[in-house]
């Protein structure tokens, strides 16, 4: 337990020190991006990993939040109202999507979420006078929470880090809470859970809503970071990328999706500066991970570690 605490303190210190070490704005912004996508992947993982519901429409919450925020701000609302209403509206849509998607399970669930994601994308793409269509639409300026200016890269990084840490703390609590246990139980044995008195539908729907909520928070960070939203950001490919982050890192763990987000974001940005075959690489990673690493990197490494420790122990015993 204490060792974990030490590790946690070290990671926190490292995260806080990032802007001191990385002074190059490009790389610092990359760190902010990782946090945003990390939150998006962790929020999706509530569904995928802990709930066993594979969604291909999670990027729609980026879109719902971002477009709502842009429209509200342009209509003259203040930043706080804009942020609250945008996240609330997007979460509400998530609640509706959950009702629809939970009519089915497995592949049916996946396809309904895909269709819903495409509807959101299609509206963004086609409703020109509202969304700017393919060209996208600009978000006027970042807010100034408590009067603090977050327009510079380091300040924005800290802002994102705080939101990320708060979100991760809540999700961490949830995962080991009674509700989290019920969610995982409903994933493994829905029929038995009902027979134990659990309302499986309600558990899964609440998980969907919570996942949508944190996804919407990530969406808000997205529009703050980019100051811009276009249909490109909420395409099927973005949903698939988010899912890949969760699976690549390890959907059965809390930290896995963050590792996935780090890898995908770095590879995407670094690779795309050299070659423009990012999509091929993304597809290839997808295929390889699913075929050879179905449980992801974090559980895979953990297994190696356990094996290594066991071997070290037996060697010492000899």
């Amino acid at each position: 337990m204490t060792r974990r605490l030490v590790a946690l303190v070290l990671v926190a210190a490292a995260l806080l020190a990032v802007p001191l070490v990385i002074t190059n704005e490009f790389y610092l912004n990359l760190a902010s991006q990782i946090l945003i996508y990390g939150l998006l992947a962790v929020s999706l993982n509530l569904l995928v990993g802990y709930g066993g519901m594979v969604s291909l429409g999670h990027a729609s919450f980026i879109g719902l939040t971002s477009y709502t925020a842009v429209l509200l701000l342009n209509a003259g609302f203040d930043q706080l109202t804009t942020a609250l209403v945008a996240v609330a509206f997007s979460t509400l849509c998530g609640a509706l999507f959950g009702v629809l998607a939970l009519r089915a399970s497995g592949i049916g669930f996946l396809m309904i979420t895909l269709a819903l994601g495409q509807i959101v994308w299609g509206i963004a793409y086609r409703a020109n006078n509202l969304t700017g269509g393919d060209n996208g639409i600009r978000f006027a300026a970042r807010p100034q929470p408590f009067g603090v200016d977050i327009s510079s890269a380091p300040h924005f990084y800290y802002f994102t880090l705080i939101v990320f840490a708060v979100a991760l703390f809540f999700i961490w609590r949830l995962v080991r809470s009674p509700f989290g246990a019920a969610l995982q139980g409903a994933r493994d044995q829905p029929r038995r859970m009902r027979m134990l008195g659990h309302n499986v539908w309600l558990i899964q729907w609440l998980a969907f809503v919570l996942s949508a909520f944190w996804g919407s928070v990530a969406g808000l960070l997205y529009v703050y970071y980019n100051l811009f939203i276009s249909p490109h950001a909420i395409s099927l490919q973005q949903s698939a990328e988010t899912l890949l982050m969760a699976i690549l890192g390890g959907a059965s763990t809390l930290t896995g999706p963050i590792v996935g987000a780090i890898i995908i974001t770095l590879v995407k940005n670094v690779v795309s500066t050299y070659i423009d075959r990012w999509n091929s690489l993304l597809g290839a990673i997808f295929v390889i991970v699913i075929m050879f690493m179905p449980f992801g990197i974090v559980p895979g490494l953990r297994q190696l570690w356990v094996r290594w420790r066991r071997r070290a122990k037996t060697e010492r015993a000899v």
Binding site: P178, F179, N199, L210
Partner: protein, 246 residues
């Protein structure tokens, strides 16, 4: 007195095949009822209709006088119904303790709490441990289900149901696949269940459960053939015909 479980004119067809035809059954509070019948008699289907896993085509199921057919499974559980499964339905990657905790959570308001630390809930864990001790699994409470024997898993099924302190307990072949020694353990557990719990038990193998039953219902092809006291049913020629004669 209101019956603990009152099933009347229950019917269920799968495609064209009737699995349950017009079954009526009344179990009084505190009773130990045995339901026997050859394979395919519709015993498990009857349980599934009572719990709500299946919806009947016709009929009624009342728990202490309250109609349950319109209620989803989990609400029936909250009214005091519990069951074990013939085909083990457990959480294989979790500890025995966690399995029982999930059972307790099902009836506990704290199941909606997304904030508290589950492993810190003494009340739940103490109750879960007690339920495991009750079935003789106290020693291995921390073991993962995947690493336990079949007999231990059968008893875990029982512990999960008993932990919920049900009013009516449905046991689907709790003795199936157990050794003589393990059967005795399970029978002792059952004998120790207080009388305010009504027990309905399915058994395929009549001999092993006979001593336990006060009243016996014989099902055959989805119909009640004989019902009565142990002596009456055993003596009935129709029992010999459909069951013992096999």
């Amino acid at each position: 007195m209101t019956p603990a479980l009152e099933i009347s004119h229950l019917k269920k067809r799968f495609g064209g095949l009737p699995a349950t035809r017009d079954v009526s059954l009344t179990v009084m509070p505190g009773e130990r009822r045995l339901i026997i019948g050859p394979n395919g008699a519709g015993k498990t289907t009857l349980f599934n209709l009572v719990t709500g896993d299946l919806t009947p085509d016709e009929g009624s199921v009342k728990l202490f006088g309250r109609e349950m057919l319109k209620l989803p499974t989990q609400q029936r559980v909250h009214l005091g119904l519990a069951r074990t499964y013939q085909i083990l339905t457990l959480f294989p990657k979790e500890t025995l303790l966690h399995n029982v905790v999930l059972a307790l959570l099902g009836l506990d308001r704290s199941r909606w709490n997304p904030w508290a630390y589950l492993a810190g809930q003494r009340r739940l864990y103490d109750a879960a441990r007690a339920a495991l001790v009750q079935v003789g699994l106290g020693e291995i409470a921390e073991r993962v289900v995947g690493e336990t024997s079949y007999g231990e898993r059968r008893r875990l099924e029982m512990a999960m149901a008993l932990a919920q302190k049900p009013k009516v307990l449905l046991l689907d072949e709790p003795l199936a696949g157990l050794s003589q020694e393990e059967r005795k353990q399970v029978r002792d557990v059952l004998n120790a269940v207080p009388r305010d719990v009504t027990i309905v038990m399915i058994e395929h193998d009549m001999d092993s459960a006979l001593a336990f039953a006060e009243r016996i219902t014989l099902l055959h092809y989805g119909e009640v053939i004989v019902e009565g006291t142990r002596a009456e049913v055993v003596a009935d020629p129709r029992t010999k015909e459909v069951y013992l004669g096999e």
